[in-house]
Symmetry: D2
């Protein structure tokens, strides 16, 4: 399955239920933000080390995958509504980032990282 | 460009800068949430109707595409760290949603929508 | 009840349960963000007009008050941990905003508003 | 300065600029969520230990106080619009939490904490 297929499935899903009226870009942004928050909820009280091994817990792993799918689907839905090609934009952004964060300035420089971002 | 290529580019980008130490799943979740918020910022004071036509403004459109790329890239980075296949998870979630929100119960029923979600 | 009393109650609540170890400023920030998202969830599919009258629904009103209390409590807890006097900071910020958004430039100027913020 | 004074100042501030039209509860919720995210941004790449001492950096401390004031002010503004008494709701919520998380079950039980919340 690729992006175009997902977008088409989401389009049909919303059309079948007359849900397009709810899917303004403003509302889809809110939904996307809320879903990332639900994903973050699984990590909020864990240490960073605990977060590294969370997927070893099958129940937690299943919930996290489910939340990530929600984030992905709302992002796709928004991209469809705003006519944005995410793969193309990602490529452009990766090139921008390579210029913004040059290796020689960024490497071995933890402090820089937090100031950069 | 596909998901696997993006993940590989992100992996190399972080490795070149010794940034893996920052990229715990916990931190990547926070970053993802913050990026969705920056995206939402473009929509917060717009009406829903205004949000439908925001991409007609080239400057705004460029900023929004940029923020969407950030969301997409952090989601991919997290998916790579947690070994999650987003396209596959999206497919599973779409099937779950079809069961959870049956057409006959959901159609023409605005109130239901808000209670469903 | 005033801020100092709330902070003291939160301090005792966490101490009684040995929860201070979880309440790093980093984690409290995440919790605060997650709670605002849970609050926002009640509004995501409403129109702005519907959001104006949501408190007429007693069940919804009760849930919204509950979420707002969560946001308030986590903000107080964080303020306590970081030794921030919120009322004083609010006063300073209000003064800054009065300079940043002068009445004559801001009034009757919807477009400006979205650019200002 | 107390809550009532802050609410009154915010009311006048918005009225003077004809900004009430933007301040639907829906929009204020979004603004609140975005501000908490801007606050969280200061903590995203820090370790929990680093987050404990961030206020020793005067520049960072100033920025964090500023963001916390923004969160506080939008929460107050929303509370005013929805006619919610935050101090009273906080008291009720503290009592609910005391029942929900009994000391004897919660103490010395890290695992429980993450499951509780």
């Amino acid at each position: 399955m690729n992006s175009e297929m997902i977008k088409e499935k989401l389009r049909k899903f919303a059309a079948d239920r007359n849900w397009d009226v709810y899917h303004s870009p403003k509302n889809l942004c809110m939904a996307l933000s809320i879903e990332t928050s639900e994903l973050m909820e699984h990590f909020q009280w864990l240490t960073e080390n605990e977060s590294q091994i969370i997927m070893n817990d099958p129940e937690k792993a299943s919930e996290i995958k489910d939340e990530m799918a929600d984030v992905y689907l709302y992002l796709m839905r928004l991209a469809d509504k705003l006519d944005v090609d995410l793969d193309y934009q990602a490529l452009i952004k990766l090139k921008k980032n390579a210029v913004k964060y040059p290796v020689e300035l960024s490497k071995d420089n933890a402090k820089k990282y937090t100031e950069f971002h």
